[in-house]
């Protein structure tokens, strides 16, 4: 994180009036374990996310942070333990999985927009086919969210014609069109040029200001400091430390966290 980017984010006053953490549980993970073959990627994960929380998960590469949030909408299968999302337990029942996926929005590092569909079609596809929304209504919703991410004029273009930052904002709008109650972000800015990171982070900050429950895997420590109410540090498939951002950055407890922070903030 360079100083320029940090200041770019910090030059905006954050409206915290809607950022409220309720005591209603959004996601409850207990005793979760996952293996890739014989490799133990996630070890005894216990994590409770309350509605309205903004959680940033950080850690070195290979620490299992992406795998963790991908388990929440069953893109990865966990082998042990329990994951309950919005009161629905993730099991092998495909109906439950599809239900959870339609309630939980996800943004990927490489956007994963559908290149053969226009921006508008990308946004209306799931509402029309999964929610059975009438086409006209779905298009109105899509335009509403495209305006929110500030690219309504691109609606009839194809993803390949947009810049990376624009594509990621479309991806966020596409998820929002399903009216999710939880949003997962898997390194949303890692594949972007520095000039485009800000526009995506701004969109995410706006989302946070509206009280969305968010889990973000990201290396944007400025974002974590400003927006998150909790920062989780993972290493070797375990949650090593979690704390409020201020405490986490100024007074890290574990040596592993200290090392990580010195490396990521030191330059």
């Amino acid at each position: 994180m360079t100083d320029a980017q940090t200041s770019a984010i910090q030059n905006r006053e954050i409206d915290r009036s809607h950022m409220k953490v309720s005591d209603e549980v959004a996601i409850d993970i207990s005793g979760m374990n996952k293996w890739y073959g014989t490799f133990h990627v996630l070890r005894d994960i216990d994590l409770t996310v309350y509605r309205g929380e903004r959680i940033v998960i950080c850690g070195p590469s290979g620490s299992g942070k992406s795998t963790l949030i991908r388990c929440i909408n069953a893109l990865e299968e966990h082998q042990q333990g329990k994951i309950v999302v919005d009161g629905t337990e993730l099991s092998n029942d495909l109906k439950n999985i599809d239900k959870i996926r339609s309630e939980v929005g996800m943004c990927f590092q490489h956007f994963n927009l559908f290149p053969h569909l226009t921006i508008l079609e990308n946004c209306t596809l799931a509402p029309i086919w999964v929610r059975k929304t009438p086409k006209k209504e779905a298009e109105e919703t899509a335009m509403h969210f495209l305006e929110k991410v500030k690219i309504p004029e691109q609606a009839d273009k194809y993803p390949g014609q947009l810049s990376g930052g624009q594509q990621q904002r479309v991806a966020i709008a596409r998820s929002l069109c399903m009216r999710p109650r939880i949003m997962l972000f898997d390194e949303p800015t890692s594949a972007l040029d520095p000039e485009m990171i800000k526009e995506v982070l701004d969109t995410m900050i706006e989302l946070a200001e509206e009280g969305m429950t968010m889990l973000c895997v990201t290396h944007e420590m400025g974002f974590a400091r400003q927006v998150a109410n909790r920062v989780i540090f993972m290493d070797a498939g375990q949650i090593v430390e979690q704390n409020e951002p201020e405490e986490f950055f100024t007074n890290p407890q574990s040596d592993r966290t200290k090392l990580f922070l010195s490396q990521i903030l030191g330059h």
């Binding site: 239900k99 990927f108 994963n112 559908f114 053969h116 993803p159 596409r174 998820s175």
Partner: protein, 433 residues
């Protein structure tokens, strides 16, 4: 400018036109034909070879004789005209074109295959071109049965009763889901029509035919021949092998063990044995496996074999397309809550098929040309007919003219398929730029 590295641009540069030698025909000729002494020599040699080939072919074909009763008469006309070189005897085409196109189909009924071909053109329009009116899809749905009835004739109840089986299947799938569940409805939609076709369809069409005899003159399969035969086998094979191939490709990608292994075995066995062996199986061996007394039309058996054969190739081509898609596309579709069939239909297959277009069309072109292999099991495809024509003493000894005509007809079909696929590729090219 001094030696200091400091530099500040005060004005941005506007783009300028390229120099005059960098555009136009002169540049093209110089770059493509005469860019060096070696290329200049190659250009001159190639021009000479093209001239030499054309100088031999053109007089032979353009000066060909169209009005003659036999090859002998052709030669007499040529000798009488006093030209010193050989000329083509196109008279054989003028005399026998109807046989090359229709085989031994009764000539007073030629309107039926022609009408079927026109209908086919209408039926396929909404599939090939998205600008065609969607209502034409009704013609597309009726087409297989209409084509069968027009070509083979006979009572109208056979095709109608068969079509009813599909309607039954559709009804079970649509209305059965509420009571049977999605899986039950799918199984029902396969089992119920099969039982209907096996047990009910035959007697039903018999009863209806006896009660209300509506029909046109029946034409048996052995009267079919020439390009009509090639087109019927080719088109039926193409139309049926594409969906079958797609399902096989999905099966081969499936996580379900049984489905996966069945697809793999089917594809590998079908692909690992030459088509000609399958055709002999169709013509000779299949009779041993069918219940005695079943008269299973040879052409139908050939169509089934050709379909199975090319579907195995299509499956592998489509699998290539599926494998070429980034994993993120599957995850993007999953993360939005689309179920398997929705994500296949809306996200994965449109992209995978687009990638596979060149391979699919190559397979289709191959299939269409391979229909000439049926000559070995006694069906009269264009090649078989050329032998039959030569057996007539009037045209004994004529080869080139017939083969050129047959080759030209095949080329027209295959080239149009190839052009269509290139057009489609350009049209579908929306992203990745």
């Amino acid at each position: 400018m001094t030696n200091t590295p400091s530099f500040v641009r005060t004005q941005m540069l506007d783009p300028k036109d390229p120099p005059i030698t960098e555009k136009g025909a002169v540049k093209w000729i110089r770059e493509n034909l005469f860019s060096g002494w070696l290329n200049t020599i190659l250009t001159i040699v190639s021009l000479y070879v093209i001239y030499w080939v054309l100088a031999h072919i053109l007089p032979w074909s353009v000066g060909g004789i169209w009005n003659a009763e036999s090859l002998t008469e052709c030669r007499e006309i040529r000798d009488a005209s006093g030209i010193g070189y050989d000329v083509a005897c196109w008279a054989v085409i003028a005399d026998r074109w109807h046989q090359l196109l229709f085989g031994f189909y009764p000539s007073e009924l030629y309107w039926r295959p022609i009408l079927a071909l026109i209908l086919f053109g209408v039926a396929i329009a909404p599939i090939l071109f998205d600008t065609a009116p969607r209502k034409l899809l009704i013609v597309t749905a009726i087409m297989p049965f209409a084509a069968y009835w027009l070509l083979w004739g006979g009572t109208i109840w056979g095709p109608l009763v068969t079509a009813l089986g599909f309607v039954i299947g559709w009804a079970v799938l649509t209305y059965g889901a509420a009571t049977l569940g999605a899986l039950g409805a799918t199984i029902g939609a396969i089992v119920v029509p099969l039982l209907y076709w096996l047990l009910v369809a035959g007697p039903l069409s018999g009863i209806l035919g006896a009660a209300l005899p509506i029909g046109i003159e029946a034409v048996p399969s052995d009267r079919f021949g020439g390009f009509m035969l090639a087109i019927v086998i080719g088109v039926a094979g193409i139309v049926m092998s594409l969906p079958l191939g797609i399902f096989l490709a999905l099966g081969r990608q499936s996580d379900l063990f049984i489905i996966n292994k069945c697809s793999v075995i089917f594809i590998e066995v079908i692909r690992g044995v030459p088509l000609i062996v399958w055709l002999f199986t169709a013509s000779l061996l299949l009779n041993y496996f069918l219940p005695p007394g079943t008269n299973f039309d040879l052409m139908l058996r050939v169509i089934i074999m050709v379909t199975l054969f090319s579907s195995a190739y299509i499956a592998e081509v489509v699998r290539g397309g599926l494998a070429a898609l980034p994993r993120g596309q599957y995850e993007g579709a999953d993360s939005l809550g689309l179920d398997y069939w929705q994500s296949m239909q809306l996200i994965i297959l449109p992209q995978a098929l687009k990638i596979s277009i060149p391979g699919i069309v190559s397979t289709f072109i191959g299939l269409f040309k391979d229909t000439t292999l049926v000559v070995f099991i006694g069906l009269l495809d264009p090649i078989g007919l050329s032998n039959a024509i030569r057996a007539d003493s009037a045209w004994n000894g004529i080869y080139w003219e017939l083969f050129i005509f047959i080759g030209l007809c095949f080329f027209i079909f295959c080239f149009s398929m190839s052009r269509y696929s290139q057009w489609l590729e350009r049209k579908l090219n929306t992203g990745h730029r």
